[in-house]
């Protein structure tokens, strides 16, 4: 347990004391069939009772797929646009107002539009997730390019490297840390938006399950699914952080 907590980078185990006390208090005060605050001990049974446990794993897979695809699309688009915006002043100036405005659109407001234009399918979900998660990656990539040591570019030029060669052997390797930072910031965004799309459209995934539990008045099930969503978000963030560390360590070598 201690190892797990350290892995997920939560801090110390004693730090869970407050949460533990709150849950114990909740357990003592609440009852299993309270319509508002069902006791924590009733959460797990509510999740698995009446054959409802079968829905959890496919829902998790759905959520992770939308999240993964969305983040991948966001990374590819974000890096490509970020390189263009960062490398050329003109491109940066030309696109700034358009991007600033697109970035300001709340993802929640985009969901109804996306369902109307694209329908209720996986493509729509991935588009919405990517649209929300692309900005941190784009911004970090472009500022990574701008903060690049001018010496690097000059070296590439005096070695007469081709444009493609400069891109792949000079530019991309040196902005990798910025890109990874962007991905780390984008990860929780992508997960939240995945759950949001699922919840708002009621199409598959953990988000849709929570919505379903709410509409059928199963508060204990709602709380159980909230716990699952929290665990999912901790796991995904820990995964991205450890990937980040691995990449950075390899670069140092």
């Amino acid at each position: 347990m201690r190892r797990l907590v350290e892995r997920v980078r939560l801090g110390s185990l004693p730090g869970l004391l407050l949460l533990f006390l709150v849950l114990v208090g909740w357990e003592l005060v609440g009852s299993a069939d309270s319509p508002f605050y069902p006791a924590p001990s009733s959460w797990w049974p509510a999740l698995v009772e009446r054959g409802q446990s079968a829905a959890i794993v496919p829902a998790l897979v759905d959520t992770l797929r939308t999240f993964g695809l969305g983040l991948t699309v966001a990374t590819i688009t974000g890096v490509a646009l970020g390189l263009a915006v960062g490398a050329s002043r003109v491109v940066g100036r030309a696109t700034a107002p358009t991007f600033e405005f697109a970035r300001a659109l709340p993802p929640a407001a985009i969901v109804p539009v996306a369902t109307l234009l694209l329908g209720f399918d996986e493509t729509m979900k991935v588009v919405v997730v990517a649209l929300a998660a692309v900005w941190p990656i784009l911004l970090n990539t472009s500022s990574g390019v701008r903060e690049l040591n001018p010496l690097l570019r000059d070296t590439a030029r005096s070695l007469r490297l081709s444009k493609t060669r400069t891109l792949f052997s000079v530019l991309l390797p040196s902005v990798t840390p910025s890109v990874i930072l962007g991905i780390r910031v984008a990860t929780p965004v992508a997960l939240v938006i995945t759950l949001l799309v699922e919840y708002l459209t009621a199409v598959n995934g953990i988000g849709a399950l929570v919505g379903d539990a709410q509409r059928t008045f199963q508060p204990a099930r709602v709380f159980a699914l909230i716990v699952i969503a929290g665990a999912l978000s901790l796991a995904v963030n820990a995964l991205v952080r450890s990937a980040e560390e691995r990449v950075i360590r390899r670069r140092r070598r």
């Binding site: 004391l17 929640a108 508060p219």
Partner: protein
């Protein structure tokens, strides 16, 4: 937090950038008008403008915007106070940090979106539900950034305070808090955008008022132009709130440091 200084340091309204924006809108208009690439339910910019005009005149756009702004600001204020208090406590007291920080990390990891169904069950389709959701989501960025800022206050600054014989209270007021202010402002700004998003989510799924509700009822009555009006209003609202907070930040933190920290 990531670097987030905006795409263009020279300012938002740049002639070249604006002309690109206008060209894009023109191309969109042309595309819809000429039916080159027909997308079902995609209104032309001129139709959106017409819908926006009538929505302004019949009062629904302004009323709904005011509702969303009000709830966002109210929830954000409460969240900021709670986040500031908890952040100061956790940053100043090692005991509080030791026995509760992990709990806050775990609670913070819960995507606020998933709390919407719980809030809906507990509070029903009401303003209360919207406020609770907005407040709950807004607490975490303020808490984390306040705590981080307090913990990073240079020890020399504290030494100065000790040397001057400041009381613990004066120490916080005159040394710790001002030194942590840039970090606190980052938290406040992140929280404000998050509160706006959560208010709109709450309005879409629960409380039948505000921009989120306008959006979803336009969607249901198949009025895409009106729907785009609400989406664009929500986007503009985000920009305006952010800019207003940036101006406040500049006023609070004059000088070199403010310029560096509020280049957003």
């Amino acid at each position: 937090m990531g670097r987030d200084e905006g795409l263009n340091r020279s300012g938002f309204a740049d002639a070249l950038g604006l002309s690109v924006l206008v060209t894009l809108a023109g191309a969109w208009e042309l595309m819809v008008r000429s039916k080159i690439a027909e997308v079902q339910f995609l209104p032309a910019p001129s139709e959106i403008a017409a819908a926006a005009q009538s929505a302004v005149f019949d009062g629904q756009l302004i009323g709904r915007t005011l509702h969303t702004v009000g709830v966002t600001l109210l929830g954000w204020s409460v969240a900021s106070l709670v986040g500031l208090g908890l952040g100061l406590l956790l940053g100043l007291s090692p005991i509080a940090y030791r026995y509760s920080m992990t709990s806050f990390e775990v609670t913070r990891a819960i995507p606020p979106i998933t709390l919407a169904p719980a809030a809906l069950l507990i509070f029903g389709f009401s303003l209360k539900m919207e406020l609770v959701l907005v407040t709950f989501g807004g607490i975490w960025p303020v808490l984390v950034n306040t705590m981080g800022g307090v913990q990073k206050v240079a020890p020399e600054l504290r030494d100065v305070g000790t040397m001057l014989g400041l009381s613990p209270r004066a120490m916080v007021q005159k040394i710790v808090f001002p030194a942590a202010l840039p970090s606190v402002m980052v938290g406040l700004r992140l929280a404000l955008s998050l509160c706006l998003v959560l208010a709109i989510v709450a309005e879409i799924v629960g409380n039948p008022a505000g921009l989120g509700n306008g959006l979803i009822s336009a969607r249901q009555s198949l009025q895409p132009a009106l729907m785009f009006t609400y989406v664009i209003t929500a986007g503009l609202l985000g920009v305006v709130l952010n800019a207003a907070l940036g101006a406040v930040a500049k006023g609070l933190m004059p000088g070199d440091r403010a310029r560096r920290d509020s280049s957003w």
